[in-house]
Subunit: 323 residues, 2 copies
Amino acid sequence: MNDLLTFRDKFNREINFYLDGKVKEFGQLDKEGVGLVKAIKELINYGGKKFRPALFYFAFRSYSSERLNDVFKMSFVFELFHTFALLHDDIIDKSDKRRGQPTIHKKYGQETAILAGDLALMFCDELFTIRKENQKLVNLYNQFKQETLLGEYLDTIKSGSTEKIMELKTTRYSFSKPIIIGLTLAEVANETVLKWEKLANDVGILFQIKDDYIGTFGDEKITGKPTSDFFEGKKSVLVDYFLERAGESEKNKFKNIFGKQSGENNFQWYRNKLIEKNVEKDVKELIQTEVEKQINLLMQNEVFANKSLTNLLIEILNVIKKF
Amino acid sequence: MNDLLTFRDKFNREINFYLDGKVKEFGQLDKEGVGLVKAIKELINYGGKKFRPALFYFAFRSYSSERLNDVFKMSFVFELFHTFALLHDDIIDKSDKRRGQPTIHKKYGQETAILAGDLALMFCDELFTIRKENQKLVNLYNQFKQETLLGEYLDTIKSGSTEKIMELKTTRYSFSKPIIIGLTLAEVANETVLKWEKLANDVGILFQIKDDYIGTFGDEKITGKPTSDFFEGKKSVLVDYFLERAGESEKNKFKNIFGKQSGENNFQWYRNKLIEKNVEKDVKELIQTEVEKQINLLMQNEVFANKSLTNLLIEILNVIKKF
């Protein structure tokens, strides 16, 4: 049984239907006005696992079956917010590729990418319509948006610890917040929400560490993600481990080449050092051990038993585990 | 009596108080995290007339006195949305100056300006809290945001007629929508709203024509606005009039120099042509005649009589009239 795949097929169909409606709406205002919606649609159709909307929807469905169609449509929020974040982050990070394809700003210019990102964010707020009288839910949603942005900002100005950026920029936004918002919408009791939150954060951190691993050791052709973290100077567990294990002269060399367009040779030197010092091996083992721990927790703890969200998380954990 | 000035003083005090609260909130997440809120605050304190939030607030107050403090706070939405639009537009238009000061992207980098714009937009949605169960109101708000963005996009890709861009990008966003949203919040009858809408659109067009005039003939030191419309290739009534009155060779020359960094000499040539062909004079007269017409309408029509919004609009019209 593959819950994510089933969800994704339906999700892709329905979000395309929604965006086609938006194309029509904008086309009625001006025939050239459809460019922004089309850019959003194109990026969404580049692919992606759509696990953020799935986490929200499965979290809700694990506890409620009310208005499922509306809640499904509300799950678009999490994909559109992700699209907004990608559009602006790719400009900021000067990324040329996304999901193996040229980034929107490379293809249509920076202006279009900025405005398409803005529009995707506006679509989120237009779609976040259910139970808006629930102040707790609305607060969570505002936190979700603003904390993600703060994480991106700290990343941009190279401030804050690796853990904090990781938590703000990825863990909360990609894992815990979609889940907590789904649970809150289903009016799940607070102590249960907290248990899911703890678990979601741990899974999110593992996802991020795997992402950092791919950003350094992945094969771009296979993963579709660029291995440019080194040149961007992205903080990660790999970097932290390396700095703990490096000698003075290695640290000095690293400082001079990290976060700059310092050439493939230097990147290769860094990768070799990570292998030589067992950073690569230890990070891989860390991921695999921790994934097993989380899967066991999901299967044994009675809070999580027999929930569709549990199956989805196990599926995602199995993807994280695969090298 | 100067309603706008009184409003502006209170508004500036209270929005600074609100933003200081946001600085504190972000500072608690990370001490370096305050940079984005500070950028927003800085741009707002550069100045500006704050007539957008005033139009919303006076529209509401003309028909209701319920929850005035909450409605006042909700007026921040229109200034923060304007701030969002300025932050991103200035990047897109490559503007160096705003309100006589360096633009945020010039001062703190493009990354900060993109993210600060995103955050300002998120603040809007966080502040738009009253009567969210009123679907008509929410639809108006979503339209307000998305139409403005469409206008900016059409401007960017140099598509659409001057009138359409003007209407989407400025008239609706700066005049009619803040007023209509204020009236709808006060539950004013539809036919009355339509009368205000027509008037607001006409005032908005005059405001835009005046803005275009300043963008070509203004003294940057006095107006605080750059006279760079020519180099940006901005569509305007001035351009339309010029093209109607120019000969073939003038049109050809214009095509080669408009919308390019074609040098001060060419800009001077264009300005001289506008004077020579009476475009400058006719546009000025058009503005003054039309302003008088609108003031008379406001004073004589019983829909508008004895409303605080009427006084505010007359004040704004008098500013537009002044050369």
